[in-house]
């Protein structure tokens, strides 16, 4: 066997391959296209995600400067500034730069736009920052004072967002205070992505109510210092409300932001590629079957079996190469389009402000091209080995189609694969990714396809004994008698249908669950959100003023702050709200809170990410201390993938000392016009905070939420559509190949008096039967796979669950469309075969 793996004679191989493609160019095109689509999707998704990740990473790095390490406050309230000298004196710390970091808005009145431009306002000690994060220092072109309280330095993005120029005055609002500055310089080294404003730290503390507080300390370590030892020394000095973050942590947390989403899409793209592979497989195996006598002749004339295998695989590899090249080009175009149309995160809403630049990545292109080629080669391997194994003397005399109706296809390989898939679905996540879930999907798919011959036979068996008109009977007999061939035709259609069905069920389940959830969490009539309220929201006076507005029947105030629980995870959202148990969508049981303990309700993702369950206790780093809380229940939250914790507002105030609120839910008095009420409320907020206030009614919020949902799944809809197209192309290609291979059969039938119309009917019936079998198998397999998506992949990657909803109308439409398309393409392919010269067809040897 080993000696047999030799390259085929180049000239002969070239003649054969070129001759074949000149005779059947469509086959080459379809195979290459199938690979191209898979490669294109995979590459596009990868590019877009890499770009999004890179720009996200750039954003994080930009705001952080280039510090070796960073101490970050657990909440926007910051930590006590007395930590700064303690850190500065820690052995191993070469320089420590204290930072005030808050969200500020360039006021609408000065930008002249309706929306205030948000930016990250940094208060820096330039003398310290110079040694740690030099990129954050703005050099005044006119050598004015670096400590000038009137001077502000803006990044280019901030300058653009605020529509300002160097030397202009700019008014920033944060912490309920507005203050104007002169733009003294540009932060030239911060790139063009991030809106950043830098002022002196003393002024930032004083003017924006941060006296005594810092949000950050940037650290440069001494050269040659043991990093782990330094980090340990720093950690030993940290209070409860501060976290030591290394660039790797920051990377990990920004990576975790989009990782699940990205991996999901890339897996989907791989699945599309796999479908393409099935298509290549079916095209190649048909083409090989049709050319069996040709290969036999070559064998007789002296082509060695190994060389024949290599030649056929090479043919597949060339198809793969062309497809992969095409796919890379299309993929880049797709990615460019997606970034332009949907934004860097494909509408996922993960990226904040800032623009995205698409970078072509040669190594990634190479990897995806190689995958495409590998799929094509793998798909050709089975038919190639089969062709080499065939006995040349017999194959030479026998024109294709050597099926024996007595042969019973085995059901067990499919069942074993399906069983393995089921087992894999039960596995845990690997590296926080549902890799086994995807393996389960792939195994189910493979199992389903492998079971097709058996299934086709089983499904057709009951029809065998019916007395049907001749064309239908012939069609039935053929499919029943040649289930392997039927399976080859079916594998593309089953693969694409089942994947599409799985995605459709998952998306419709998800969307339905989100819709229900939105209704549950938005019971009031009007909602108020204060944008950028991390530093300060509505104080008790403002709350009382709003509550006293005529038309307000009931108003509930909420406070939301980001809370950093772990250095390498994105912050969770901590909410304080009245009577949480009654107003959040709790799932599962709630546990009575022991006397004297604080009840906390955690969202579903917290269960997965922090390994918590009701009845556990956890510590919240609030107000400089670790505050123990008791987890009383879990609630469903589709909004915050990284977790949320809800406390009763009394407890929230007690633990944080923060009496301000950032949102309000308002029940209107009967007969109140929400629009007028919003106007009245806005007036009572005053101009400063009014600029940051956003009002919405549940109806709008639901519409917005669902449109965001649809936008983020736009790519999956596109993938679905493409999967369908691949499936249909596969059916068409397979049918046309199979009917062409059966030209002699049709010629014979025509000779014995079967009318042309009857042959067409027979082919259409075959197509329709195949379509129906494919749809039934695809639906069943797809629903099975959707359960893996819903119960394994989604919980493991996004950490939330949902209730299954079957999109019946879509299924009905899909079944009809696929059956009709299969019948139509079959008949269409048949027209060509039937119109060929029947006499010549009989005489022809292949």
């Amino acid at each position: 066997m080993t000696a047999a793996w030799q390259p085929p004679p180049t000239t002969a191989a070239r003649w054969m391959v070129i001759g074949e493609w000149r005779a059947h160019p469509a086959r080459l095109v379809i195979g290459a296209l199938a690979i191209a689509v898979g490669v294109a999707l995979g590459f596009a998704v990868h590019l877009v995600n890499q770009t999004a990740l890179a720009s996200f990473d750039r954003a994080v790095r930009t705001v952080n400067g280039a510090a070796d390490l960073q101490i970050r406050a657990a909440t926007p309230a910051g930590f006590a500034e007395s930590l700064y000298p303690r850190i500065a004196r820690t052995p191993g710390v070469a320089a420590a730069s204290p930072v005030v970091e808050i969200v500020a808005f360039a006021s609408a009145s000065t930008t002249g736009t309706a929306n205030p431009a948000p930016m990250t306002l940094l208060g820096l000690d330039v003398l310290r920052a110079a040694a740690v994060t030099p990129s954050l220092i703005g050099l005044p072109p006119d050598r004015s004072s670096p400590f000038d309280p009137d001077a502000i330095f803006l990044s280019r993005a901030a300058l653009t967002a605020a529509k300002k120029n160097l030397g202009d005055r700019i008014t920033l609002t944060a912490a309920n205070t507005s203050r104007s500055f002169t733009i003294a310089g540009i932060l030239a080294n911060t790139g063009n992505d991030q809106a950043i404003a830098v002022i002196d730290i003393a002024d930032a503390q004083w003017r924006f109510a941060q006296l005594g507080k810092l949000q950050r300390i940037d650290i440069r370590l001494a050269q040659g210092m043991n990093r782990a030892a330094a980090m340990a020394a720093i950690n030993a000095r940290l209070p409860a409300d501060a976290r030591l973050v290394s660039p790797e942590n920051a990377q990990a947390s920004s990576d975790s932001l989009s990782r699940a989403y990205r991996v999901n899409l890339e897996m989907l793209a791989m699945v599309a590629l796999l479908t393409g592979g099935f298509l290549v497989y079916s095209a190649q195996s048909l083409s090989v079957a049709r050319r069996r006598p040709q290969f036999a002749l070559l064998r007789v004339l002296g082509l060695r079996p190994g060389a024949l295998t290599v030649q056929i695989v090479l043919e597949g590899a060339i198809v793969g190469l062309i497809g992969a090249g095409l796919g890379i080009a299309i993929g880049y175009g797709l990615a460019d389009l997606a970034v332009t149309l949907l934004g860097g995160d494909l509408g996922g809403g993960l990226l904040g402000r800032g623009e995205v630049h698409l970078d072509f990545s040669a190594p990634a292109a190479l990897v995806f091209a190689m995958i495409g080629i590998a799929v094509a080669i793998a798909s050709s391997l089975v038919p190639a080995l089969e062709a080499a194994r065939a006995k040349p003397a017999i194959a030479l005399k026998n024109a294709g189609d050597t099926t024996d109706p007595r042969h019973r296809p085995a059901g067990w390989p499919g069942l074993v694969l399906l069983g393995l898939g089921g087992l894999a679905a039960l596995g845990p996540p690997i590296a926080e990714l549902p890799l086994l879930g995807y393996a389960a999907m792939a195994l189910l798919l493979a199992g389903g396809v492998a079971a097709m011959p058996f299934l086709a036979r089983a499904l057709l068996a009951p029809l065998q004994n019916l007395s049907l008109p001749a064309p239908l009977d012939l069609a039935l007999k053929r499919l029943w008698g040649a289930p392997q061939q039927a399976a080859v035709a079916l594998c593309g259609i089953v693969a694409s249908t089942s994947l599409m069905v799985a995605m459709a069920v998952m998306v419709s389940s998800f969307r339905g669950s989100v819709d229900d959830w939105l209704v549950q969490i938005l019971p009031s009539d009007v909602y108020l959100h204060i944008e950028g309220a991390e530093t300060a929201g509505l104080d008790p006076t403002a709350q009382a003023r709003l509550a006293a507005t005529p038309g307000v029947a009931k108003i509930r105030f909420l406070r939301q702050i980001p809370l950093r629980l772990a250095a390498d995870r994105a912050p969770v959202i901590l909410t304080g709200q009245p009577d949480p148990a009654a107003s959040i969508p709790l799932i599962g049981r709630t546990i009575p809170v022991p006397a004297g303990e604080v009840a906390a309700y955690i969202s579903e993702p917290m269960v997965w990410l922090y390994n918590l369950k009701p009845g556990d206790r956890m510590n919240l780093p609030l107000g400089g201390k670790s505050r123990p809380v008791f987890i009383a229940g879990v609630w469903r939250d589709y909004a915050r993938q990284f977790g949320a914790i809800t406390l009763a507002d009394r407890d929230f105030t007690a633990l944080t000392g923060d009496r301000t609120r950032s949102e309000a839910a308002i029940d209107t008095a009967p007969g109140t016009d929400p629009a007028k009420l919003i106007t009245a409320l806005r007036q009572r907020l005053g101009p400063v905070i009014g600029a940051q206030a956003m009002f919405a009614e549940p109806r709008q919020m639901r519409a917005v939420a669902l449109s965001i949902f649809d936008r983020s799944f736009a790519i999956t809809y596109a993938l679905e559509a493409i999967a369908i197209v691949i499936g249909l192309v596969g059916v068409a290609a397979t049918f046309s190949a199979q009917t062409l291979a059966r030209t002699r059969e049709f010629g014979m039938l025509r000779h014995i008096g079967v009318r042309r119309g009857q042959i067409m009917t027979m082919l259409a019936a075959e197509g329709a039967l195949l379509g129906i079998i494919g749809v039934i198998a695809g639906l069943a397999l797809g629903v099975l796979m959707s359960q893996v998506l819903i119960h394994v992949v989604n919980p493991q990657s996004f950490h939330w669950t949902m209730d299954t909803r079957i999109p019946w109308p879509l299924f009905a439409g899909l079944a009809a469309a696929l059956t009709a398309a299969a019948a139509g393409t079959a008949a269409l392919a048949g027209r060509r075969a039937v119109s060929a010269d029947a006499i010549r067809a009989v005489r022809e040897d292949w």
């Binding site: 004679p9 000239t11 054969m16 001759g19 006598p293 002749l297 064998r299 007789v300 004339l301």
Partner: protein, 224 residues
């Protein structure tokens, strides 16, 4: 120095998978330039004998040598090489590849043996003239009649100067007039090349060109 026989078959035995014995103790020697016709009833095993000689099938017992090289005990791969280098084929159904030009079809045995492409094609053009189709190297088989296709097949069978040519009913698909012309072409070409020819046929006309006519029966080959 005398060259070895084109074909030596010694004590060959073969049964079909069902267990029925086709022949045993079969002996046959074909000298270079000799034409041997093998006749016999349908299903008696004439094609099987040809397949065995070509190394396409394995015998139950006995030995086969082509141009002095034994086929027995060799792997399929090695037998393929002997076949490629020393055997030429002419089939009843012509087996000309439809998407190769006539010259390419004829050159196939040479390029399969990795000969230089240009030289192979040049030789194919010469062969094409030899079989009476000069200047048609660029045509495709679809443009040819059955007799013309068989001329191509003869040219292909001889292009690599094989020691042995195996012809299985070469005139079975041709009208008598064409058949006669093909047989005479085959004879001329074989004689010119000094290859041995084993001709399996039902046709007495065909058998008439042979130096020896043997009949295949259960006991082996007997002269007619």
């Amino acid at each position: 120095m005398t060259s070895p026989p084109a074909l030596t078959v010694h004590q060959l035995a073969k049964s079909v998978p069902g267990g029925r014995r086709l022949f045993h103790n079969l002996d046959l020697t074909v000298a270079p330039g000799e034409i041997v016709a093998i006749m016999g009833e349908s299903g008696i095993g004439k094609s099987t004998l040809l397949n065995l000689v070509a190394g396409l099938d394995s015998a139950d017992a006995g030995t086969i040598s082509i141009a002095g090289q034994a086929l027995d005990d060799r792997q399929d791969d090695a037998r393929t090489i002997i076949r490629r280098d020393h055997v030429g084929f002419v089939f009843q159904a012509f087996h000309i590849l439809p998407h190769l030009t006539l010259a390419q079809n004829i050159a196939l045995p040479l390029v399969l043996a990795r000969a230089d492409t240009a030289a192979s094609l040049a030789r194919a053009i010469t062969m094409l003239a030899n079989v009476g189709l000069p200047g048609r190297g660029g045509d495709y088989p679809a443009q040819l009649s059955g007799g013309e296709l068989q001329r191509i097949a003869i040219a292909r069978a001889l292009i690599h100067d094989p020691a042995l040519i195996l012809a299985d009913e070469p005139t079975g698909n041709l009208d008598p007039e064409t058949a006669e012309r093909i047989l005479s072409l085959l004879t001329t070409q074989v004689r010119a090349s000094s290859a041995g020819l084993v001709l399996v046929t039902h046709s007495d006309c065909a058998a008439a060109i042979a130096d020896r006519v043997l009949v295949l029966g259960p006991t082996g080959l007997t002269p007619r």
